[in-house]
């Protein structure tokens, strides 16, 4: 029989106050297979670990059980402790007598008995543990970045600058994302496009980056370090290899459609580039609006193109690639105004969202940066800005704070005042959250220098009266309801994860939270990783954040990817479920229940084969296998049955 050592941790009073340690030690001393029981105040401390090391050597132990906190916390600590003195790390087991015992019970006698039973059962498991070695997996040192906004651009550049290859996939025909739409950025008021476009050009010119715009992820298989991805290149109807980007086709195209880039304020052609600094600066034909596709007549673009680049027969194509890591940087959308009945449901032309106002302020926008209201093009003399529209409203919309609205609304009011000197901006707010370097100073400047009137309170309704938009709200500081007859209203709509992200997460098998944002592996300590190994997060897809935070997060993500790529091979947990080929009947039940596609039926041999790297050791197959051929390592049927017996034998 194996020689097992049991180490019982007091965890200060966390365990010792509810579990009688002395009694536990005494009880286990006589248990079959146990040759040593030792208790200590803090087993995870250096002296605690030294006790374990010494005893393993002096008592010639074959395996140990540490009765302490949850294995999610210190399993790794103690396994490494064992490794340093030459014991196989998988011969170390953790009995959780804190989270599952002392913390949840009050009665000391009962808790002590439960602790004994937990430890006994783990001793039974340890007696039959096999010595295991981690599975080694090679790494493909190429990253896939999904999303070409500032988050994706920053991540791609940073990974590429570390010397690794990157494929940057963007849904639109140009990279740039939301940041390209913005006018000026807080708190420095530098032009958004001016600071973004150099980075866009860097991406296009970088020899390590393969840019795939107008493309989407179609399919994915594989695992960390070894993903196989299929990318769908949508039909552009323009051969970009031949196209020089001269723009003649755009000029001649007779069909117009609302410009998505200008938030519908302006029209674009059916063959178009979203904005003048687009990267790549090549047009695509919008199938839905093109006259030729609708009526079979026109082809003006094809006729004027001197390079024969227009190809109406082009179809979508698929590219298959192998990558080692994936960065999800799919960005955000703005919650549509039509959800706000009290603010006109999007039917009032002069009640617009903040992103639309960005286009009005932008020097590249439809008004060339002059503030003119959408309904009649006049200069608004009084503008009301309303914050927290859809945000911080768990009863009707979303519970979270969209984080960027306080600052961009302040910026909007300030820029408006800079353009229209005799204009008056008002901001309705619930709280002003100006946390960030230079942010509070920016907010104070808006009040003091630009006379922005801040009104603390919500707006109950907004309605049209002649050519005015009447805003009914309250100033809770002053304590009275207020009414403003404004020329225009700008709503700071909630930030939402971008459309289609839910399908993408299903494809990638990563989690989203109750609000639809991607879930990070740990809110504080692993903020840029998803729970699936090898898939990382950046930007507003994870949570609303401003440009500085997005760039910081994307850089952190790139650093995690470089971290992964710098390893020679990856280690995979060997606690997987194999196949006993003598017992396997080849029924294939396990194949159908495996959530990781780790099991395949070999029809010729009539048995199931396992991809050890894909297997996450969930145990579904062991439970489903009718012949007992699928046995999970160190969780065999015999071990589990012995553990249950130990618990019931009290």
């Amino acid at each position: 029989m194996k020689r097992i050592g049991v180490f019982v941790c007091h965890c200060g009073i966390n365990i010792a106050a509810t579990v009688d340690i002395e009694s536990v030690v005494k009880d286990l001393e006589d248990y079959p297979g146990v040759v040593l029981v030792q208790d200590y105040k803090y087993m995870c401390s250096d002296p605690g670990q030294n006790i374990i090391k010494e005893k393993i050597k002096s008592e010639r132990l074959d395996g140990i059980v540490v009765a302490a906190c949850s294995p999610t916390l210190h399993e790794n600590t103690f396994r490494l402790t064992c490794k340093t003195v030459g014991m196989n790390p998988y011969s170390c087991e953790i009995a959780n007598i804190r989270e599952q015992c002392s913390w949840v019970h009050k009665n000391k006698d009962e808790a002590t008995l439960k602790a004994k039973l937990i430890i006994r059962s783990i001793v039974e498991k340890a007696l039959l543990d096999e010595e295991l070695e981690p599975v080694q997996v090679p790494v493909i040192r190429k990253a896939l970045v999904l999303g070409g906004g500032i988050a994706g651009i920053q991540a791609a550049l940073s990974i590429a600058n570390s010397g690794y290859e990157v494929i940057l996939v963007e849904k639109q025909s140009s990279i740039g994302g939301r940041m390209a739409q913005l006018s000026e950025t807080f708190p420095t008021l530098d032009c958004s496009q001016c600071i973004l476009t150099p980075k866009m050009v860097d991406v296009a010119q970088h020899e390590k980056i393969r840019l795939m715009t107008y493309s989407e992820l179609e399919d994915i298989s594989g695992f960390v370090g070894n993903f196989k991805v299929k990318i769908r290149q949508k039909a552009k109807y323009v051969d970009w290899d031949k196209c020089t980007g001269c723009g003649l086709c755009i000029e001649k195209c007779p069909k117009k459609a609302p410009s998505e880039f200008d938030q519908g304020l302006e029209k674009r052609k059916a063959v178009f580039t979203p904005f003048p600094q687009a990267v790549p600066n090549k047009p695509v034909i919008d199938h839905e609006n093109c006259t030729y596709f609708k009526t079979g007549k026109c082809q003006l673009c094809k006729i004027v193109c001197s390079f024969d680049a227009v190809d109406f027969d082009e179809t979508e194509t698929f590219v298959e690639e192998e990558v080692g890591a994936i960065v999800v940087a799919t960005g955000y959308d703005v919650y549509p105004v039509l959800n706000m009945d009290e603010y006109g449901s999007g039917k009032l032309p002069d009640v617009i969202d903040g992103l639309t106002f960005e286009r009005i302020l932008s020097s590249s926008g439809p008004t060339g940066g002059e503030v003119r209201r959408p309904s009649d093009g006049t200069v608004p003399k009084e503008i009301v800005f309303i914050k927290c529209v859809g945000s911080r409203d768990p009863e009707h919309h979303f519970p979270y704070c969209s984080k960027i609205c306080c600052m961009y609304t302040t910026k909007h009011a300030m820029l408006y005042k800079h353009r229209v000197h005799d204009g008056q901006p008002y901001i309705f707010y619930m709280d002003v959250r100006a946390g960030g370097k230079g942010y509070e100073e920016f907010y104070q400047r808006a009040q003091e220098e630009d006379n922005v009137i801040f009104l603390r309170g919500k707006v109950s309704k907004v309605y049209q009266d002649d050519d005015k938009v009447v805003v009914c709200g309250i100033d809770t500081i002053y304590g009275r309801n207020v009414e403003i007859r404004a020329d225009m209203v700008v709503l700071a709509m909630a930030i939402r994860p971008s459309k289609g992200v839910e399908e993408l997460t299903r494809l990638l098998k990563i989690a989203i939270d109750q609000n639809g944002f991607l879930t990070e592996a740990h809110p504080k300590l692993r903020p840029v990783e998803s729970l699936s190994a090898g898939i990382y997060l950046a930007g507003c897809a994870q949570a609303p954040k401003d440009i500085p935070d997005t760039v910081a997060q994307a850089s952190a993500t790139a650093s995690m990817v470089s971290n992964l790529f710098s390893q020679e091979y990856l280690l995979h947990d060997p606690l997987i479920t194999g196949v006993n080929e003598d017992l396997c009947s080849g029924c294939g039940v396990c194949v159908s229940v495996c959530p990781y596609d780790a099991r395949k039926l070999n029809k010729e041999e009539g048995i199931v084969e396992v991809n050890e790297v894909l297997c996450e050791g969930c145990g579904s197959c062991s439970a489903a296998c009718p012949s007992g051929a699928a046995q999970q390592k160190n969780f065999t049927d015999t071990q589990l049955s012995n553990m249950v017996k130990a618990i019931l034998s009290e």
Binding site: Y426, N451, F454, C472, Y478, V482, R485
Partner: protein
């Protein structure tokens, strides 16, 4: 209970608002309504409008309400509010500005002829002069 108030740029840039700014030299828009002035004012309990709301009303252009208020006259000009303000708003000067606006309207607090002759002869000169000064500034 509460009356609805219309806020407009016309109000914000009214003659009264300009006059208050001219006399006091204070930019009331710097105030972010922390309320420290009212919290530290030794006379606040005797006022009808606490100092932070005086500034709030000035921000919104409701000078007419402030002119009717008693607060500026109860203010002892001890300047505690000004010393305490984190945004450098000189509240005491705003109070003085409001008093000046009232005084410069030049309405007669007393009409000497309306005072009974006997009383007039008995009144100390300083009382009469004090009253005159308030009207002729």
């Amino acid at each position: 209970m509460t009356k609805k108030k219309a806020i407009s740029s016309r109000k914000l840039t009214s003659e009264d608002a300009d006059q208050l700014h001219d006399i006091s030299g204070v930019n009331v828009y710097a105030c972010y309504q922390c309320g420290n002035c009212s919290a530290s004012c030794p006379a606040v309990e005797f006022m009808d409008i606490p100092p932070h709301l005086v500034i709030r009303l000035a921000q919104l252009g409701f000078i007419d309400e402030l002119i009717e208020a008693e607060t500026p006259w109860i203010c002892a000009a001890c300047i505690t509010c000004t010393v305490k303000c984190p945004r450098g708003v000189d509240i005491a000067k705003v109070m003085e500005g409001l008093r000046q606006i009232v005084l410069r309207r030049d309405f007669e607090h007393i009409n000497i002829r309306e005072i009974d002759k006997k009383l007039r002869e008995k009144l100390p000169q300083i009382a009469l002069i004090g009253n005159f000064r308030k009207t002729i500034l």
